[in-house]
């Protein structure tokens, strides 16, 4: 009993600090999202769920939601697939392994805005290196079909190293003896991968998925710099739309509503992942 009370006392500072820096802003955004607040016209009134009702009929919101989900699903899937392959390769021993590992990590070290600008030039129809190498004249960022995929591709390039590092750490934790035993029992490479590597790597994969999906659902900077949401909003994500409503048209109420939706998406997904992770841990 005593110990528990002491424990409570010790975590108090952390609780206070956390509520100050996270819970207070979250609550105030929630409150703002229930208001009609336009500082330009001196409007500030409580409107209940009006903003959320408007959300349901707002085509631009649904378009942004679709783009965001597409972006998150494709980019995270590709990052995981490529990341796993590269991590498996790097887990073997070969000459120049240090050099290769360092090369793989570079994209992660480049600041997002810098890499977005870099890709903007590489995607350039006229003097971009991509079209030069392909010998084509594809308008990567100007065509509604390519633009969002181009953003996905940039994100895969940029964040795959992060996935590789985590997976590599996971692979290193699998005891070598298990592999040796499997080989003695006559298991082939494929069944070793399916029956040993993958199951033992599952907790790490889940962690990777949590981090990456949450990041991808909130995607803002990379796409904003690359396309600004265009052409015709075909690359506008929820965060970009929220930014424009909040800071360009200064509709603080509705902008907050959009932010709350982003928060709900990421929040519910992380709860789901946490459940999965716990189930995985108790197995």
């Amino acid at each position: 009993m005593m110990e528990r009370e002491n424990g409570n006392r010790f975590v108090m500072p952390a609780v206070v600090l956390l509520s100050l820096v996270t819970i207070y802003p979250i609550l105030s955004v929630l409150y703002l999202s229930l208001q009609r607040r336009l500082p330009i016209f001196d409007v500030s009134k409580f409107t209940g769920l009006d903003n959320y009702r408007f959300l349901l009929t707002d085509d631009r919101f649904w378009n942004a939601l679709r783009n965001t989900v597409y972006f998150a699903a494709t980019s995270v899937t590709l990052e995981l697939l490529f990341g796993l392959v590269i991590a498996l390769l790097l887990n073997r021993s070969f000459r120049l392994k240090g050099v290769v590992t360092a090369l793989v990590l570079i994209p992660w070290a480049v600041p997002t805005v810098v890499s977005a600008r870099m890709w903007e030039w590489m995607y350039n129809t006229d003097f971009g290196i991509l079209n030069y190498l392909l010998g084509m004249k594809i308008n990567w960022l100007g065509s509604p079909f390519w633009a969002l995929n181009a953003a996905v591709f940039m994100d895969v390039w940029k964040t795959m190293p992060f996935v590789v590092i985590l997976l590599l750490a996971g692979l290193k934790m699998i005891p070598r003896q298990i592999y040796q035993a499997a080989r003695i029992d006559g298991a082939g490479a494929w069944s070793i991968f399916m029956k040993i590597t993958l199951p033992l790597l599952m907790p790490v994969i889940l962690v990777v998925l949590i981090f990456r999906t949450l990041d991808a659902l909130r995607i803002f900077d990379a796409v904003y710099v690359l396309t600004g949401g265009g052409p015709a909003n075909t690359t506008e994500t929820l965060s970009i739309y929220a930014y424009k409503v909040l800071f360009q048209t200064l509709q603080f109420g509705y902008g907050s509503t959009l932010s709350v939706v982003v928060f709900l998406c990421t929040g519910s997904l992380s709860v789901l992942y946490m459940r999965l992770l716990r189930a995985e841990g108790s197995r």
Partner: protein, 439 residues
């Protein structure tokens, strides 16, 4: 053996962290040194006013010299000038957040021409009508004055001006015996003729990415066809001339093939690069590009001409107005001193110095006949008639909301995702909704 390895990797990790921490500290220290401004120790008594502005083009020294001159001429006033992030969107965001919370951390602010009605309506700007003497407004170009005026009162003073121009290659037009086009149709014809014979040459490039610059580009076509966005505060976006003009822009790409589809991702700089490397015959851009083309290492040095943007037959050219204005923060504790600074910075002599040193185009008409300026930059003289015609984008506090509707719809039309009718119809409905809402 194994624990040895772990031990070793642990010390390596520890060392790395220590080195990183040290580097961070050194960096922080250096930053601290660099950022402590020497202006802090300036002027023991008197008032200090803070002037927020975007990055001054080129060398910042002449600009600071001007502020020093102001301090000498006005003993007791110290001016602290603070540069905002380069992106216009971020500047708008900075002002909105700070002014909404009634900040008095800055006194004078530089404003993009499209923000003034919005900020004035929000009550963030002080009425500065009296900064200019009776009738002095007439000394300025009409476009900027219209953009800063609400109900007959001035909420900012025009500082420097910008407008859309047509750049063309004098050498190529001469070679094929053509002159700068007066109508858009002429431009198409000339561009088609010359690009047929010149390999690797684009006919006409402009800015088509989804952003504010696209709105300027489209409005120039729309206005020069007799169209518009608002008429007596009512939206007239889906009008026939607007549809015709927007269709014309799409046709430049897909029908007449004089505009490459790369303009759909282009802002000012990429188009300036293409034209500057000699790969385009015509380009729509702002006046800043001129001085770049004039530099020693420019591939088009001496081969560039500037003209008024063309129009549709029977209408007049209508360049979009850009540029920056100076206003006073309504919550400023030193409004008198702030007004003095604005009067100084927008005065004839300071505008002249700024034109000569950093190339800011004056908002005062008289300077376009100034012999010193014309001797240094003969090009400036030819801008006079263009600036006289420069038209502000819709002057309304709703502009930032309207442009958020126009940008994606215009983008959809020029990229061929929607027909001009559909895009403009949708924009019309959305703007009606914005303006019709009871606040």
């Amino acid at each position: 053996m194994r624990s040895d390895k772990i031990e070793k990797s642990r010390t390596v990790l520890g060392k790395t962290i220590a080195v990183l921490a040290l580097l961070t500290m050194i960096l922080a220290f250096l930053c601290g040194l660099g950022c402590t401004s020497d202006r802090e120790q300036h002027g023991a008594s008197g008032t200090t006013i803070v002037f927020k502005h975007g990055k001054i083009a080129g060398n910042p020294k002449p600009f600071r010299d001007l502020l020093d001159r102001f301090e000498r001429e006005n003993p007791g006033i110290t001016v602290k000038d603070e540069t905002l992030p380069a992106s216009t969107d971020e500047q708008h965001q900075f002002y909105a957040i700070n002014l909404d919370s009634k900040s008095n951390d800055f006194d004078v602010l530089s404003l993009d021409v499209i923000w003034v009605p919005e900020f004035a309506r929000a009550g963030w700007l002080r009425d500065v009508t009296r900064v200019l003497a009776e009738g002095e407004q007439n000394a300025f170009f009409p476009g900027p004055v219209q953009a800063v005026t609400q109900d007959g009162r001035l909420f900012a003073v025009p500082w420097y001006i910008d407008a859309g121009l047509l750049y063309y290659r004098t050498d190529l037009l001469k070679k094929y015996n053509r002159s700068a086009p007066k109508t858009w149709q002429e431009l198409v014809k000339t561009a088609q003729e010359i690009t047929e014979k010149e390999p690797n040459l684009y006919g006409f490039i402009w800015q088509g990415k989804q952003y504010e610059g696209l709105v300027c580009n489209v409005l120039e076509f729309i206005w020069s066809d007799g169209g518009g966005v608002l008429e007596n505060s009512r939206p007239v976006i889906d009008s026939p001339p607007n549809i015709e003009a927007l269709q014309f822009m799409r046709d430049l790409i897909v029908k007449w093939h004089i505009t490459p589809s790369l303009v759909l991702t282009a802002i000012e700089e990429p188009t300036r690069h293409i034209f500057g490397s000699g790969r385009a015959l015509f380009m729509r851009n702002w006046p800043y590009a001129w001085s770049v083309f004039r530099s020693e290492d420019s591939a088009v040095r001496g081969k560039v001409g500037v003209a008024e943007l063309p129009s549709f037959p029977g209408h007049v050219s209508a360049p979009a107005l850009g540029g920056w204005q100076l206003g006073v923060n309504r919550f400023s504790l030193h409004p008198e001193e702030a007004e003095k600074l604005i009067r100084f910075l927008t005065s004839l002599s300071v505008q002249k110095t700024l034109a000569l040193t950093v190339g800011y185009k004056p908002t005062r008409k008289a300077l376009y006949k100034d012999p010193d300026l014309l001797r240094e930059q003969p090009f400036v003289g030819s801008l006079y008639s263009i600036f006289m015609r420069a038209r502000p984008r819709p002057v309304t506090p709703y502009y930032m909301m309207i442009t958020q509707v126009l940008q994606p719809e215009f983008s959809a039309a020029v990229a061929g995702i929607k027909t001009p009718e559909a895009a403009l119809g949708s924009a019309q409905r959305q703007v009606e909704q914005i303006l019709g809402e009871k606040l």
